[in-house]
Amino acid sequence: MTWSVSARGAHQPDNTAFTQQRLPAWQPLLSAGITLPLFFCAGLAFIGLGLGLFYSSNGIKELEYDYTGNPGTGNCSLCATEGQGRSPPPNCSCAWHFSLPELLPGPVYLYYELSNFYQNNRRYGVSRDDAQLSGLASALRHPANECAPYQLSATGLPIAPCGAIANSLFNDSFTLWYQRRPGERYVEVPLDRTAIAWWTDYHVKFRNPPLVNGSLKLAFSGTAPPPNWHRPVYELSPDPNNTGFINQDFVVWMRTAALPTFRKLYARIRQGNYSAGLPRGAYFVNITYNYPVRAFGGHKLIIFSNISWMGGKNPFLGIAYLVVGSLCILMGFVMLVVYIRYQDQDDDDNDDE
């Protein structure tokens, strides 16, 4: 203790730039020569970007229809009142008729939108088992505890896919019919339901459990479907590449939304005659109304939209850019004025750059 003090550090400190705090350094200053041009340039660039964004967003055409079926809002209200409550909704369908006065340029995307639906609620969001969904056989039989109360069925079988998210899978379906001229027969517009999910979701994150004897059904044997489902997960689609955990609708649904109002991709319209878009004419969408939302004040919408270079329609970003850009320029002017006024007083300050 006491004796070591004198012995310690009896050496002369090293004479290095580091120990002497003389490291060469760049010492930037908020000088007018840098700040003002930066503000003006940034402002102009932002205004430019903002205008671009705004116009391209405005150029996007959207058709949307609220088919929630609140009383007096079209023919879906019938389904809505019938499908109210916890009982399985009957096979009810309704339609949305619309006509396009001119071509809706493609590619056209069909979305469904839910509002007031809290997919981002924590208890909802954690209620899934990614290990099960990634096809791990062990996880298939032993769903994670987070899935509770949709972990085990009433009979004690493991639920596959488990959890609240899977249980609440959106199960309305849509078909689009086109009538070129009035009086003509409606033809069904082919909806491309493939590749609506993210590539990584479809190819990596969601995997079916290994087939047993080449059968997906056997692979899922010993599991129960989620209580709200009418059919087991391996029968979601007849297409073997689109069923089980890799059913694209299911995958899309499982990518939970950030906000309580959200859209999910339902289909693309890009096949055959419709590759250039939806031509003018009359259309109707046939909606199989299954999904109850009125209990919690939610809305269901169906949307046709095309996209621009930066994605879907959203005027916010363009406006925000315009606002920030204008503010930059405004601030630039304020600073310029202040700088010019005070530079005269302070001779030393104005020759930085």
């Binding site: 006491t2 002369q12 400190p13 969001g125 990584t200 959200f262 859209r263 959203n314």
Partner: protein
């Protein structure tokens, strides 16, 4: 530590100790501690449990442990367990590593001490043993200059009468030698091993304690009992000096020694930033609880209004059927999520930064004192930024401001001044000269006159001017110096006070060499001729007499009285014929005094035989008298010391340390108030005050308070205040202005409410009264309005009291600097204690927070290191709070859109890593390396120090600004993505407004925004900053892509559900546009604000930075005070620095070696039989110091 453990093992603590010499078996029964010491806390086995236990006693760690436990409850857990455990483990392991390293060094130093060798008498033989194997009851032999291994009972020594000398610097910091004497019965044992081995005395003494000055015990040996006192004990930690050998019996060993018992815990100091930080952390906790409550209420409402209808999809959890209960759970969930407002890494980062700053202090070559190979040392690593906030410096004088080296500078002999030329000599030379002076050879030629350049004195000597001869003869005769020849046959002086040493050495240099003395004679070599004077009487110094005289008979048979003393006293005793000379000498004295020299008047008197005989008889009578002995003796002294003939005066310089004046000037320009607290006399203190520019003639008034009662003191203080206010009519009430000091603007002089400069001088007596509660405020008020306060004649306790007073009432940061044991209390009680590792041992340094080799380094320590530390710490804290508010509050906004469900905005891994990986290093680099202005400019422009004193860089206001900034950023961070992602589709038409993309976008924006912000804050971009800032951003993307990669998902699908997300999101132009917008939107206002502030209200450092930038080599023009030392009518009242009692010791001959002639005089015999002289001596705090150890004594 060990002591405590031992006492736990033996709960019946020792009441008294019985030790038998040379009998280990006997002593073993008592299980006394052996001489092994442990200062280490842990060993390999106990490290983990003890260290963990200690760490979790800290509030922050315990809090995070609590959070961790909360997270284990599934209903509450809003974050996975690793988000807390990873930082916690990191923090705890870092601390553990630091503790382990510290302990390792303690083990090493323990081992080094435990393995020292000492000679122990075992089985009638002297054997070398390690210290740790020394047992209680052993007899050990010590040799000169050895450390004492344990607390010993002195048995015998090489010196006559069983005397031995010890230096107790390690114990109490005093370097002067102390005398210890063995019992006569044991000192007869001498060095006879066989009889020592047969020694079987039993000592019964007090139990181990920490009282250094006290010891009581009884030695029973050969059927008789001898009382033992402190004078018989040599304590561990002392060093044996001037004694060839001695034998001692171990009484206390190892942890029981007084040294170890004294190594108590030092008071834990915290900086004001620390305290502020703790307050803020509590506020933040309050804020967090408020947020939690708001969100919990929100959750309850949401659950009852909305969630209840959402049951189709969102089940009720177990036991949360009630919305109120759900709100309760949500509260805890949000407490977990929002805990990052006070991140665990804050405390660790602060410690790391401080550690870095401490290393910079240790490494600074400009604070390295080459002459002693001493770098500055930050002994505490936790106080650095407080160095940048000092408002008051309390400085010791001797050894701190002065070198405590006296040099004979000038003299006035018979009306003529010698030594004028010296004024221009640099101080550096003086130091080297002093060193040479140590090994003066005793040759006849005065070859070493280097430090006295005026050859006219030499000429006068050679011409044989009788007055000059008489003057030098007096210097060689009238003193209490002991001479001794060292092994090389050179003459070595043991001096009692350095003043005297300077005078005797001066005489020696001019050919009047004091050779030796016996109780009755003094031998002086006068210009080559040995002359022996008969010492007839020794009129010792006392504080009242302020003079000393010797009466000698020279070989011619004349009896002469030589006297030296304070001019004020001596001038009254002069023969009237001296009138002219007196006025001349008086002028010279004034001149000397105004140059800051310590002066003495020199006079002699010729006595005739008859008169002296008569006087001597009266003296003998008086000494034999039983009543009024002292009064009669002093009356006789008065009687003979009159009608003196003035010879002249001497001027000794109490040399200031290098750079003291410049340092003090700079520090006072930095608005630091310097108080000098010294044990010196008022006159000396004032002199030194003038010498080092603390007091100047330019001052409007110097108030001297010397009252003897509380009332007097108060009146004096009030009168002084009236004068002060009288001259400042515009000034209404002093303390109001002072208390609102913090709100004052930075501009210089605004807080100088009192125009003009004042100084206060107060002495110890008055101070004692002034520190009484009702006068206290008067003192403080006046003292704080004065630029300088000099307290003289203060005791160590008073020093601490003064510091406490200012600390208590002024809310200012204080710094105490000192070098001696008497400064320890002050060093411990000030916010910052600085020890000068001077000549007075290590006590001050050991108690201090920083150790410097020289006072002048204080300037750099405060103005550069302190300022930078403060600046960096403030910047660090501002940024840190900003960053974490921006990071965390996003969750708050998100709560309104996720049903208050405690959903996190970010990926759990991001939350885990954000503070410790993605953003920790850039801010650390800024906290360690940032500089606003260079060190040179900091030194040149002391005004830059002021923001620290006024607490401007980080205070509650600043904190709120940071918080507001953080809130703004969090708003931008949340609402821009919110607006942008609303119902958005990606470039390929796929929906991208999903939770994971949202999280990634927000996380990326956050990392970029805070990186841009730190880039903006960093004003000194070293390579390290570049690497850390760019590296952090790169690391973020790297880790992000890894964690979202297929391979990681393949291994842990549960833990990394974000697979593919980074790639998908980051390949969208849209996401980058959002990131860009957020960055610009959150940084633009800051830049604007800073730019406008720099234009409109540029701070001094801004201006200097621009100067620096413009590469102007010219130094900023600051009005440096002219350092004039104008002469004035100041008058040195300096007298001796002696203590009484030495005359007695000399005339008794007790301290002389056997080879000196046997004492014969009756006076001596009387003293010989009277054993009380040694107690007397010790009572009077003997200060024997010998030059051969290059030590000098404190006044």
């Amino acid at each position: 530590m060990e002591v405590d453990v031992r006492q736990m093992i033996h709960p019946t603590s020792e009441v008294e100790r019985v030790v038998k010499a040379n009998d280990r078996d006997y002593n073993e029964k008592f299980q006394y501690a052996d001489n092994r010491i442990y200062t280490s806390k842990y060993n390999i086995l106990t490290f983990l449990p003890i260290n963990l236990f200690e760490q979790f006693q800290r509030v922050a760690n315990a809090y995070f442990l609590f959070l961790l436990i909360l997270q284990l409850i599934p209903e509450i857990s809003s974050l996975t367990w690793f988000t807390t455990i990873v930082p916690l483990v990191l923090v705890i392991s870092m601390t553990a590593v630091k503790d382990a390293t510290d302990d390792y060094f303690r083990h090493k130093s323990d081992n080094q001490v435990n393995n020292r060798q000492s000679e122990v008498l075992i089985n009638s033989k002297l054997q070398n043993e390690k210290w740790m194997n020394v047992k209680v009851g052993d007899i050990i032999k010590l040799e000169n200059n050895q450390f004492v291994a344990a607390d010993l009972l002195l048995l015998s020594s090489s010196e006559p009468h069983g005397l031995c000398y010890v230096e107790t610097a390690e114990l109490d910091g005093e370097t002067n030698l102390k005398v210890r004497q063995a019992l006569p019965v044991t000192s007869e044992l001498g060095a006879d091993i066989s009889s020592l081995a047969k020694f079987d005395g039993i000592v019964i003494c007090e139990a181990p304690n920490n009282k250094l000055e006290k010891f009581s015990g009884v030695l029973s040996w050969k059927d008789s009992k001898h009382t033992l006192s402190n004078q018989k004990i040599i304590l561990r930690g002392c060093v044996l000096r001037n004694t060839r050998w001695c034998f001692g019996m171990v009484l206390f060993a190892g942890p029981d020694t007084k040294l170890m018992q004294n190594s108590g815990k030092t008071k834990f100091k915290r900086t004001s930033i620390d305290r502020l930080m703790n307050t803020l952390v509590i506020w933040i906790f309050g804020f967090l609880v408020c947020l939690g409550i708001i969100l919990a209420v929100g959750n309850s409402i949401w659950e009852s209004e909305f969630g209840g209808q959402f049951r189709t999809f969102l089940f009720w959890g177990e036991g949360e059927k009630s919305s109120l209960f759900s709100g309760f759970l949500t509260f805890w969930s949000y407490v977990i999520i929002l805990n990052t407002l006070v991140p665990i890494s804050l405390y660790v980062s602060v410690e790391v930064i401080r550690l870095g700053h401490s290393y910079f202090i240790n490494w600074d070559r400009k604070m390295y004192y080459a002459a002693k190979a001493m770098p500055a040392e930050a002994r505490t690593t936790t106080l650095n930024e407080e160095l940048g906030q000092i408002e008051y410096i309390f400085s010791d004088k001797t050894g701190t401001l002065t070198q405590n080296i006296m040099t004979f500078k000038k003299c006035s002999i018979n009306g003529r001044v010698y030594g004028e030329v010296l004024d221009d000599l640099g101080q550096k030379k003086e130091i080297t000269k002093k060193k040479e002076g140590v090994d003066f050879s005793g040759k006849s030629q005065p070859e070493r006159t280097l430090h006295f350049r005026d050859h006219s004195l030499m000429e006068s000597i050679e011409l044989g001017d009788p007055k000059v001869h008489e003057f030098l003869r007096l210097l060689a005769l009238c003193h209490t110096v002991m001479s001794e020849e060292d092994s090389a046959g050179q003459l070595v002086y043991q001096v009692q006070s350095p003043d005297e040493g300077a005078l005797v050495t001066a005489a020696r240099n001019f050919g009047f060499i004091f050779k030796s003395r016996t109780p009755e004679t003094i031998t002086v070599e006068e210009l080559g001729t040995p002359v022996t004077y008969q010492l007839l009487a020794f009129l010792d110094f006392s504080n009242i007499r302020k003079r000393m005289s010797v009466i000698v008979r020279n070989p011619e048979g004349q009896i002469k009285l030589y006297s030296k003393g304070a001019d004020t006293i001596l001038f009254e005793k002069l023969h009237p014929s001296n009138k002219d000379l007196l006025s001349l000498t008086s002028d010279h004295l004034n001149e000397f005094a105004s140059a800051g020299l310590r002066t003495l008047a020199i006079a002699y008197r010729d006595l005739d035989d008859k008169y002296f005989k008569m006087w001597q008889e009266m003296l003998e009578d008086a000494k034999a008298a039983t009543t009024e002995r002292d009064e009669r003796i002093s009356g006789l002294y008065e009687e003979i010391e009159r009608d003196l003939m003035l010879l002249g005066a001497t001027a000794v310089e109490d040399k200031l340390q290098e750079g003291v004046i410049e340092t003090i000037t700079t520090l006072s320009l930095a608005n630091i108030k310097i108080w000098i607290l010294t044990g010196d006399k008022q006159e000396t203190a004032i002199n030194i005050g003038y010498a080092c520019n603390v007091l100047t003639d330019a001052m409007d008034a110097v108030f001297v308070v010397t009252g003897n009662t509380a009332v007097e003191v108060r009146d004096e203080l009030r009168k002084a205040k009236e004068i002060l206010f009288g001259q400042n009519t515009s000034f209404s009430s002093g303390h109001v202005v002072y208390e609102s000091k913090q709100q004052l603007e930075l501009d210089l002089g605004a807080d100088e409410a009192v125009t003009g400069e004042y100084a206060l001088v107060i002495n110890g007596h008055s101070l004692a009264h002034a520190l009484e509660s009702d006068v206290e405020n008067d003192l403080l008020e006046l003292a704080c309005m004065c630029k300088t306060v000099v307290c003289c004649r203060v005791t160590p306790l008073q020093k601490a009291q003064v510091v406490e007073l200012v600390k208590k009432h002024r809310n200012a940061v204080t710094l105490a600097i000192g070098d001696g044991a008497n400064d320890v209390s002050m060093i411990k009680s000030a916010h910052i204690g600085i020890g000068i590792s001077g000549q007075e041992g290590l006590q001050a340094v050991l108690a201090s927070d920083y150790a410097l080799a020289q006072f002048r380094y204080l300037q750099r320590l405060l103005l550069v290191h302190g300022r930078w530390s403060y600046y960096r710490m403030c910047k660090f804290l501002c940024y840190f709070f900003y960053k974490n508010f921006a990071f965390t509050l996003v969750h708050f906004w998100f709560a309104f859109f996720c049903g208050f469900s405690a959903q996190t905005v970010y990926d759990q891994w991001f939350i885990t890593l954000f503070n410790i990986v993605y953003t920790s290093l850039p801010v650390l680099a800024m906290g360690i390396f940032d500089q606003d202005v260079s060190d040179q400019n900091s030194m040149d422009c002391p005004q830059l120090y002021e923001p620290g004193q006024l607490n401007l860089l980080f205070n509650k206001r600043r904190f709120f600004i940071c918080v507001a900034h953080g809130i703004y950023t969090s708003l931008a961070l949340f609402f821009i993505p919110y607006g942008s992602f609303y119902n958005l589709a990606g470039e390929d038409g796929q929906h991208i407004a999903d939770y994971q993309s949202f999280a990634v976008t927000m996380a990326t924006s956050l990392v970029i925004v805070v990186s841009v912000q730190i880039a903006l804050d960093t004003s000194y971009w070293t390579v390290v900053n570049h690497v850390f800032i760019w590296g952090s951003v790169a690391t973020y993307f790297f880790i992000l892509l890894i964690m979202h990669s297929r391979s990681v998902f393949g291994i842990f699908p549960q833990q990394f559900p974000f697979v593919g997300n980074a790639w998908h999101s980051l390949s969208q132009k849209f996401v980058w546009l959002v990131v860009l917008l957020i960055s610009v939107a959150s940084v633009m206002p800051v830049v604007t604000f800073r730019f406008l502030k720099m234009c409109l209200y540029p701070s001094l450092s801004d201006q200097i930075r621009r100067w620096q930038k413009a590469q102007r080599k010219e130094r900023p023009i600051r009005n440096r005070r002219p350092q004039s030392r104008s002469s004035s009518s100041r008058r040195s009242g300096y007298a001796f620095a002696h203590q009484e009692g030495y005359g007695e010791l000399i005339t008794s001959g007790k301290n002389m070696r056997a080879e000196s002639p046997a004492p014969t005089s009756g006076l001596e015999k009387m003293l010989y039989n009277n054993t009380s002289w040694i107690e007397n001596l010790c009572k009077k705090t003997t200060d024997v110091v010998s030059f051969n150890h290059d030590k000098t004594a404190k006044l």
